[in-house]
């Protein structure tokens, strides 16, 4: 009997002693196990880039979400019947308010990317490894941070500046107040100036990383937007003459061809690759998800007015049929299908129409043609078009018409314009050149022509001057109505 008791107690004691309440997760990385080696630093910066093209469960920033603000909120793009989100439709009709979820998601995605950059910038210096690589990685993170703040300041005006990762979950330490527009730009210029120290090129395996040329290109746009024309001109010339080897593709279609990604015209592109989001979808898909197949069903993303934006291309302008498709061969049936209305085509991979959401076509965030036109614009704004300005504009036009780029060609070249008509010519050129490239709304706001241009589209006649900025998301303002005053017209 004693034996039984003994066994009994032993078995109980056996279990009492054997477990600890502190368990260590084995299937995910906790922060304190991170930032030890250079590989950790590399991975953290990869995540900074990924904030541009991947947001599981949502359309990513440059995948499609920013498009709603920068394109659908402008004149040429609209929500088609297949757009079932009322918030998207509101954006298209310019009736969106501070509760609009697309505005909120864009705000979230931009600040999530900024936080990832902050995490990298705060922590990379402490990992082991080559100082050169570490500096480069930090500058890459600064490039993305500057780029994201540049989007934010144009969309919302003076936004909160957050430069470090949060250290506590208390609300007070997570809140930030709006800064002034000038403060934000100062920060952008600081980050991008640091990023000018990036390498001019990378090995093929690292193609797609931010370069010093990319930093200068974004800075060109920053100065142009600020109407700081001397600096804009200076930076653009550094891009052009800095030995980076940038040039226009001879063929406009090449810009959107997956085999030509990260080519000579691409200064910085958001990279898309099949299966980026796992199982058969890329991180995002830009408007290609909107492809509804060879049916009469109107896609979610459509051209708002065929006469105003499709019929404007002159005969021989190759940009029309790269940007839009009126007819397309159905690869399954081999027959030519005519759509009721031209559909957007730049990001449609014709070799992969079955899963258009799994595309390998990059998003050209800034390309050489933009720098040429920006420089031309800056020069013209300083007084009058110069010969240099004409040449810049005409190079873009010659390429569009399939002509030799550097050979003057009277059939397409523009000449004899004054400042006003040259300005109009540039504006017309950008409208045709940058369909679906996230430029249109920024351009119209920069030129001060948003209301007059958008009003030309009947379904968008709700537009008003308040639309030169987007509203600060209401959910964000609820935390701090005083520190985050609303933009005019949205209260």
């Amino acid at each position: 009997m004693k034996k039984i008791i003994l066994l009994f107690l032993l078995s109980a004691g056996l279990f009492v002693s054997c477990a600890d309440l502190e368990v260590t997760p084995t299937s995910f990385v906790t922060e304190d196990k991170y930032f030890k080696t250079q590989d950790d630093a590399v991975a953290s910066v990869a995540a900074v880039y990924a904030s541009l093209s991947l947001d599981p469960g949502e359309q990513s920033l440059f995948g499609r979400n920013l498009y709603f603000l920068t394109d659908m909120g402008s004149d040429y793009a609209a929500a088609g019947v297949s757009a079932t989100n009322p918030q998207v439709r509101a954006m298209s009709a310019l009736t969106h308010d501070a509760t609009n979820d697309r505005v909120q998601v864009a705000w979230r995605q931009i600040y999530a990317g900024i936080n990832r950059a902050n995490v990298s910038i705060d922590n990379i210096s402490k990992v082991s490894g080559s100082e050169t690589v570490k500096t480069r990685l930090i500058n890459e993170a600064k490039f993305i941070r500057g780029l994201l703040y540049f989007q934010a300041v144009r969309l919302w005006g003076g936004v909160p500046i957050v430069l470090h990762e949060p250290t506590s979950i208390q609300l007070e330490s997570l809140k930030s107040k709006r800064a002034t527009v000038d403060e934000v730009y100062a920060q952008i210029i600081k980050d991008l100036t640091d990023a000018e120290g990036l390498p001019p090129t990378y090995s093929a395996a690292d193609a797609g990383r931010a370069t010093s040329g990319a930093a200068k290109a974004i800075l060109t746009k920053v100065y142009l937007t600020r109407k700081d024309y001397p600096n804009a001109i200076a930076k653009a010339r550094e891009v052009i003459n800095g030995g980076y080897g940038y040039a226009l593709f001879e063929n406009f279609q090449d810009i959107f061809t997956k085999t030509k990604k990260n080519g000579k015209e691409h200064i910085f592109s958001v990279q898309f690759e099949p299966n980026q989001a796992g199982n058969g979808s890329s991180g995002s898909t830009f408007q290609s998800t909107s492809f509804t197949g060879f049916t009469a069903t109107e896609p979610a993303d459509i051209i708002s007015d065929v006469a105003l934006f499709y019929d404007i291309y002159a005969a021989g302008d190759t940009r029309r049929d790269v940007s839009y498709a009126k007819k397309l061969v159905n690869p399954v049936t081999g027959t030519l299908y005519t759509f009721p209305k031209p559909i957007f085509k730049k990001y449609l991979d014709l070799t992969n129409l079955a899963t258009p959401g799994n595309t390998a076509i990059n998003f050209p965030l800034i390309r050489y043609a933009d720098i040429l036109l920006s420089l031309a614009e800056a020069i013209n704004e300083q007084g009058a078009p110069t010969a240099e300005a004409y040449e810049l504009l005409n190079q873009v036009r010659r390429r569009a018409f399939g002509k030799p780029i550097t050979t003057p060609d009277a059939t397409v070249d523009l000449a004899g314009l004054d400042q006003v008509t040259f300005r109009a010519a540039i504006q017309e050129e950008r409208k045709k050149e940058f369909v679906q490239e996230g430029q249109r709304w920024f351009d119209l706001v920069r030129w001060g022509t948003l209301v007059t241009e958008v009003k030309k589209v009947t379904a968008k006649n709700s537009v008003s001057e308040k639309n030169n900025l987007y509203p600060i998301p209401q959910s964000e303002r609820n935390f701090d109505p005083v520190g985050l005053p609303q933009n005019p017209g949205y209260n």
Binding site: I4, A46, P86, L174, A207, F294
Partner: protein, 1032 residues
């Protein structure tokens, strides 16, 4: 067996009778029914001479005692009787025992006399336990006041959500703790899924326990009863005890049934002619030329078109169950062994559920002080189910796809094969168009669950008063999922076949060590003390892998190496829970009872700053009828008042959530994907359990010699420290942080009433009425936020935001517009408020109410449209027996709940390509100025309005069973002790205004945040079965 006993008794009697003084022929009968009482023991007082009554209730004494003498008659279920016998022969009537307050009730870590209990503990009536169901949790349906069981769908093996006294939690688990033969189980449906994409709703892991093995179910509801389970007690506790052997009655029994099921309701959809004319109108509305000619429509009217909905259903789907069990025991050991087989085909094509279960319960008295035993259960179930659609959006699953497919599209080709190429209304992918019937029939979607649930225990009586018990138990769940969508199915077309396999293994070891001390001081003071230490360790691993782009479909999921791999997935977790528990019961003369109980839980799930939680409770009960003043209150047999208060917790908050984590994201450089790691969660070292404080007052009344028993409870529960993903400023880089910050309140009343309506010689009628009303309210959700919209994981619902969590309103509140008729004139369109996001409202479109009066319909005009939580639920069950027949029938009802009928919303949206509800026949046209149904237009926008938030109140004749038991004499001739035949019908009639398949539905299963959404769930079925129970 009985004969052996009888003859044994007879021999005994003769041997011990040296001198015969008297003979006695007696008959023992029930005092009301006059039926013989069989197997009762009768002894002559003051002697050891005893006999047992035979199959006719007869007994016989030959004894040295002279008449008159006193007989002691006892039999289980009857009051013990001492009677003086002075004549021969004699007929003795025995009164049935209805001493309800004296019955033993299973409570946490022990049993207690019902009379001594202070807490709110309810037992599931025996009649409920014999229902036909695949899963144990369904036995709770309508059985106990305060328990609401909602089956997520009618799919065989479907999961259900169980709420005891309302939901306490917003984001953490709300399911009760199950204790199966002492093993603590949280019914986490995640364990029924290995995470395979498109597999659809997971299988109910409680279905691994064979309902036929269950002896009793107790539900612990208030804090006094559940505090002994500490951080797992908040949501209530369900104690399941399986059948054990009993001394002296070795028997073999077979229980079996066979039946058929049919979908209980179909939706009224348009036929081909109706749809063709609708489509013509839609085309006209967008300026297209109508594509159907009048002649074509006439042809459709004659042919009827194609009924896709009906094609998705199987008629007379069979269900069968067989159970063989052996049980018995002798002086020192008891055993029960059983094997069961359950096989159910679903009413939707391609779905079924099979289960094999084996159980052995054994207990041995090793010595007078030491006993040990084992309760072991193994089950293996295989379920084939309806998966989900990868394209999501308007068609979450093939059932919805079938309902929405245009009725002019042929289901099959002329050669009998499924039509997967010819549907101009659908988008063709790689040459294939979706055919939901083909999807249902040919997609493999299999879940296999094996579970071993075993406990070993030893109990040692150290002294007469002190007992030690050690139990070690293990629970292993292995779930394997296999999925294959062939290249011509919806999910497989885009990738030329899609295979996915997954495996999840979760095992848990539990050790419980308790000491029990019982003592009395004098006559009046009775103490019992329980103390213990327990440890539970759980670990789990999941892996899944898949591939696509197969050469052909022949190897399905069995050769994924032949395809192109998709990213594999694996994860693992472990958790540890250590606990100290204690309970003290004190009773003064049985009149005043006090219970103090509590538990300290240390959990690995909690943050480093709050590893241990403490959960105390106190209870008091007063047996009023034991007081002298109450002795003579007419009609009142027993009255008891209960008062309790206490704190319990909820630790179902997930693993590792207190730690900061990094998640992987990809980005490509040079055309190659690289893995990046990004911060996904901020650390919260203060993360801890959710805390519920509960007060309960109850009254138990037995009236009219216990013919009427009444249990009444009123309670108030306040849950604090709710774990919520609190929204934070997005500028922080995070959208939410997990914090213990919210509060929810539940209060309610419960009434249970059991009555014996009639009892005569051949006839009896008993009823059981259960009623409960719970009011749930969100008290706070933190950070000054008073409302948020949970993200419903489905494209079109996500954008509509049909459900909200708002302070002051119940969980599961629907949020949307109120409709206001139809725009009848252009004048109205020009002057009245329109939805701001719809650019071109026209005559014939729906009007909405501009609640804030700003002249435009925006999100600000949305409001509360009701909640999915019922105002009250009730059930009414009856058992009627007449001679050898018995009839059971039960009604269940629910009042005041709403369901968001998302499927009907989709069906009332006219498009160019999808079928519609027949209600659209009454659509607005210039000649039919309907004020209810808008014009035909091509606008797939779903808008949440009160039209689609429907009243889900219902009354249902849930179950009718008619049984016939063969007379003893007949069954004896067949060599059996009892033979019973029965027929039964389930879901025979439902009275409801709900227009969907069934008002008891929740497309998102156990989810707390968006319950009560019906997005085309698997329909419920009506079942007819016939069965046979034989005991040898």
């Amino acid at each position: 067996m009985l004969f052996l006993l009888l003859s044994y008794a007879g021999i005994n009697a003769q041997n011990t009778t040296p001198l015969i003084q008297s003979k006695l022929d007696g008959t023992l009968v029930d005092d009301i029914t006059n039926q013989p009482v069989i197997g009762a023991s009768i002894t002559i007082k003051g002697t050891t001479h005893g006999v047992v009554t035979d199959a006719e209730g007869k007994f016989y004494f030959q004894t040295g005692q002279k008449l008159p003498y006193t007989l002691i008659v006892s039999y289980i279920g009857y009051k013990k009787l001492e009677i003086i016998v002075d004549k021969n022969p004699v007929t003795i009537s025995l009164k049935e025992e209805r001493q309800e307050l004296d019955e033993l009730v299973v409570v946490g870590y022990g049993t207690q006399k019902r009379k001594d209990i202070t807490g709110s503990v309810a037992s599931v009536p025996k009649a409920n336990l014999s229902q036909v169901t695949s899963s144990a949790d369904n036995l709770l349906r309508g059985a106990v006041a305060g328990v609401v069981v909602t089956q997520s769908s009618g799919r065989p093996g479907a999961s259900s959500s169980v709420r005891i006294r309302g939901g306490n939690s917003i984001t953490a688990g709300n399911e009760p703790l199950y204790v199966v033969d002492g093993i603590l189980i949280y019914n986490d449906n995640n364990n029924g899924s290995a995470g395979v994409s498109f597999a659809g709703a997971s299988i109910n892991v409680l279905s691994t326990i064979n309902p036929a093995d269950i002896e009793s179910i107790e539900v612990l509801k208030d804090a006094s009863a559940t505090a002994i389970y500490g951080s797992r007690g908040s949501n209530g506790v369900v104690i399941i005890t399986t059948k054990k052997g009993t001394k002296g009655h070795d028997n073999i029994s077979y229980q079996g049934y066979f039946g058929f099921q049919d979908v209980s309701k179909k939706l009224h959809l348009m036929n081909a002619a109706q749809w063709a004319s609708l489509r013509n109108d839609v085309q006209a509305s967008i300026g297209q030329t109508p594509s159907f000619t009048a002649a074509q429509i006439e042809d459709f009217r004659n042919s009827g078109g194609y009924d896709w909905q009906s094609a998705a259903f199987r008629s007379s789907a069979p269900v069968q169950n067989h159970q063989l069990s052996f049980s018995g025991g002798d002086e020192r050991s008891r055993y029960a062994v059983s094997a069961g087989y359950f096989d159910q085909e679903g009413t939707v094509l391609g779905s079924d559920f099979k289960r094999i279960s084996l159980r052995i319960n054994y207990e041995k008295n090793y010595s007078t002080n030491f006993k040990f035993g084992v309760n072991a259960n193994y089950s293996n179930s295989i379920a084939n189910g309806v998966g989900s659609n990868g394209n999501g959006g308007r068609t979450p699953n093939p059932i919805v796809s079938a309902v929405l497919t245009a009725p002019v599209v042929p289901i099959r080709n002329t050669d009998g094969t499924y039509n997967v190429t010819n549907n101009i209304y659908a988008t063709s992918v790689n040459g294939f168009v979706p055919n939901p019937i083909n999807d249902l029939e040919n997609t493999i979607n299999e879940t296999k669950i094996s579970r071993i649930l075993t406990s070993l225990f030893g109990e040692y009586k150290i002294t007469k008063k002190l007992t030690a018990k050690v139990a070690v138990s293990g629970d292993v769940i292995n779930t394997k999922q296999n999925y294959y969508a062939p290249a011509n199915t919806t999910n497989g077309a885009g990738t030329k076949g899609l295979a996915s396999i997954g495996d999840r293994l979760v095992s848990s070891v539990l050790n419980e060590n308790t000491l029990n001390y019982n003592t009395t001081f004098g006559e009046n003071h009775k103490f019992s003390v329980l103390g213990g230490y327990t440890l539970q360790y759980t670990q789990g691993e999941t892996v899944n892998a898949g591939a696509n782009t197969f050469v052909n479909d022949s190897n399905t999921y069995n050769a994924i190496q032949d395809g192109v791999a998709v990213k594999p997935y694996s994860d693992a977790f472990e958790s540890v829970l250590k606990s100290w528990l204690a309970r003290v019961n004190y009773s003064y003369r049985g009149k005043y009872n006090f219970t103090l109980s509590g538990r300290a839980d240390g959990s690995s799930r909690f943050g480093s700053e709050s590893l241990w939680g403490y959960f105390p409770s106190a209870g008091f009960s007063w047996n009023i009828t034991d007081e002298e003043f109450a002795n003579n209150i007419k009609g009142v047999t027993e009255a008891k008042l209960r008062l309790t208060a206490g704190t319990t917790g909820n630790q179902e908050i997930g693993n590792y959530l207190s730690l900061a984590s990094m998640g992987s994201v990809n980005y490509s450089f040079g055309g190659t994907l690289y893995t990046g790691l990004a911060p996904t969660r901020l650390a919260n070292p203060d993360l801890k359990w959710e805390k519920t404080t509960q007060y309960n007052a109850g009254l138990d009344l037995s009236l009219l010699d216990r013919k009427v028993n009444f249990v009444f409870d009123v309670y108030y529960k306040k849950t604090n420290d709710l774990l919520i993903s609190v929204p934070v400023p997005l500028t922080s880089g995070y959208a939410t942080v997990l914090q213990n910050i919210g509060g929810v309140e539940n209060k309610g009343i419960e009434v249970g009433l059991t009555t014996e309506n009639l009892k005569t010689e051949h006839f009896s009628w008993n009823s059981n009425i259960v009623f409960s009303a719970n009011r749930n309210k969100v008290v706070s959700i933190g950070n000054g936020v008073d409302q948020f919209f949970p993200v419903v994981p489905n494209g079109s619902l996500l954008q509509q935001q049909p459900v909200t969590v708002k302070v002051g309103l119940p969980l599961g509140t629907f949020w949307g517009y109120k409709t206001n008729g139809i725009f009848q004139t252009q004048e109205e369109v020009n002057t009245q408020p329109k939805i701001n996001s719809l650019a071109n409202t026209k005559v014939g479109d729906r009007k909405y109410v501009d609640t804030n009066g700003d002249g435009v319909i925006t999100a600000l005009d949305k409001g509360n449209l009701g909640t999915s939580q019922p105002k009250f639920v009730a059930s009414f069950s009856n058992t009627i027996s007449y001679r050898d027949f018995d009839l059971n029938f039960s009604f269940q009802g629910s009042y005041g709940a709403k369901i968001f009928n998302a499927l009907n919303q989709q069906l009332e949206i006219s498009t160019l390509g999808t079928n519609a509800n027949v209600t659209l026949e009454d659509r607005w046209t210039p000649t039919n100025p309907s004020n209810e149904i808008p014009r035909a237009s091509s606008s797939p926008l779903g808008i949440v309005s009160e039209r689609y938030v429907e009243d889900a109140s219902f009354v249902r004749l849930k179950l009718v069973t008619l049984g016939y038991t063969l007379p003893k004499s007949v069954s004896k001739r067949l060599g059996a002790t009892s033979v019973k035949f029965y027929v039964s019908a389930e879901n025979l009639v439902t009275w409801t205004k709900y227009t969907g398949y069934d008002p008891e539905v929740s497309s998102y299963e156990q989810n707390n945040l968006y319950p009560g959404i019906d997005f085309g769930s698997y329909p419920n079925s009506r079942t007819f079965i016939s069965g046979l129970n034989v005991t040898f």
